[in-house]
Subunit: 340 residues, 2 copies
Amino acid sequence: MVTMTDVAHAAGVSRATASYALRGDARIAPDTAERVRQAAQRLHYTANLSARSLRSGRNGVIGVAIFELDRPYPSEMGAAMSREAARHGLQAIVQQTSNSKESEISILRKVTSQLCDGMIFSPGNVNDEEIRALSGGKPMVLLDDISPDPVFDSVYTACIEGSEAAVRHLIDIGCKHILIVGGTYEDLADDGKSAGVSIRRMLGSLQALEEKGMPIDPGMFLPLAPWDSETARVCAHRIVDSGRPVDGVFGMTDTIALGLIRGFADRGIRVPEDVAVIGFDGISEGECFIPSLSTIRTDLDDLARKAMGLLLKRIDGDSDDAPVRLTADYELVVRESTRR
Amino acid sequence: MVTMTDVAHAAGVSRATASYALRGDARIAPDTAERVRQAAQRLHYTANLSARSLRSGRNGVIGVAIFELDRPYPSEMGAAMSREAARHGLQAIVQQTSNSKESEISILRKVTSQLCDGMIFSPGNVNDEEIRALSGGKPMVLLDDISPDPVFDSVYTACIEGSEAAVRHLIDIGCKHILIVGGTYEDLADDGKSAGVSIRRMLGSLQALEEKGMPIDPGMFLPLAPWDSETARVCAHRIVDSGRPVDGVFGMTDTIALGLIRGFADRGIRVPEDVAVIGFDGISEGECFIPSLSTIRTDLDDLARKAMGLLLKRIDGDSDDAPVRLTADYELVVRESTRR
DNA sequence: TTGAAAGCGTTACCAA
DNA sequence: TTGGTAACGCTTTCAA
């Protein structure tokens, strides 16, 4: 391994000079700096990030923790974060929490442990207080934080407005018998404030129904666990087999919506002719599907920009303000699954 | 930030003793060790990985570099690697190379830079020599390395055998006019040895055709760049519009195959009734698609197990052997897209 | 404009 | 069984 000492030696300067030269400090004479750079290149020198981090507390690495790497939405989000980090000359490292508390804790420790300068984190099973204790004061931005009084900056998906737009769209194209898949009406009652994604998507749906003067019936809300396409597929079978009238469905994620369409197809129900289906997220899988999926697309580039912006501000110490909450842009994307 | 010194102080022992105690060294008296552990827990101590890495050269982190985080196959692979790392008590960090040389180099530098103990790397635009120069002697396992004389251990997808199985399956179900999408026949000629994924998938396809005594025509092989579903969709349009007879298609990746099916649907061509379609990879998206996609599924758990096994052997210094090459298991999965 | 030297938090050697 | 101490490679202050 070639170290800074080697480079300094090869260039005939001290370690300090080499360090300054390589980071472009103005105090070093141009020709000295050039000599050092040449030596570094010749020796294939790369800075030891552990040493740098240990000494200066910074290493240019941003941690991104998402639920599952093998699901489209979180992984597209991780990709957006990586791109955004690169735009700032930083390197993102992505870790999956597997939606387990143990794993979330282990990842949070890594932040404390100086693996990265800060972290963007999707909390699942761990609350703000636990995060604070584990973060050791390192900057952190949360995604869709459900804490009632926040400790960290957070960026939200536009669950309420987006779901409202989704259900409004179903009503606008003439749906009379709408189903919302992903949560139950009962959950709405006991949870006034600490509203998770599922609750907020129900709230938005309700707003659209009320606004349009549609009848509201608790039976319109169907729970689903886990939120995956196979479960949704089975759910669609049950909907059809129950014989209840349905002409529009809002799946709380695209993955759910695609599973529903697949389940309807299994029973000979056509989308959009018999039932219109709309999802939420905007994963790229929906574009290629047959029929292509209408959805509320979260602008992941905007989400990444906002999250990274907040994080970098904290990292640079420019801000000691109270926690900030931002919401990512979204857009209604109308495709074949609701076109009629 | 609470350090080992704080813990040692709180437990009334020296730093050295605290260090040994926390890592369960047998030399420390049980009650001393317990006292140290209690203190560490009470103070929310977490080891500084940078310091550990700097001193001992190890920090329990494994790097995984994949092309794109937002494509199903690489991200499912990243997930498999993360699970496998966790099974060994290690933490995987995933980085995307965005298939750019600059980015691959920047990531390789991170290995050298002690961010992780070793790396699993999908080389795209960087050759073995460059990797060796940049890796600074750190252990590395490559995926589908195309180098003629390898420097590193490598794990391969079963491109040749898998593609052979795919095309054989098309022939078995009665296809007479087969197309292979993802590479051109001309590429086969100049590239005898350093065979990339595309070339190897063509070679396997050819073997099946020969074995079954089917006529071979260079026009059967259609290039595609980039390998994504939108491009494949357009390709399907062109196939249909050309009017050539086709009753079976092998898409070199599932993403290609799904795009082809979508493109056929755009032109009213039914899969599998008019054209049977099979892909390669086994991404979960194919299960839910309409029709569900037949494919050669790479066993990603097996791939991860083999790659991690090789890497850990090198990290532990158990092996100074010549580079090892292993191949991941695969399986033919027959679904609706070739069922008739 | 450059160099010497002091640490950052940890581990590992050696001595007690 | 424990403690002192010297590194690991880098950055940064202070002097020259």
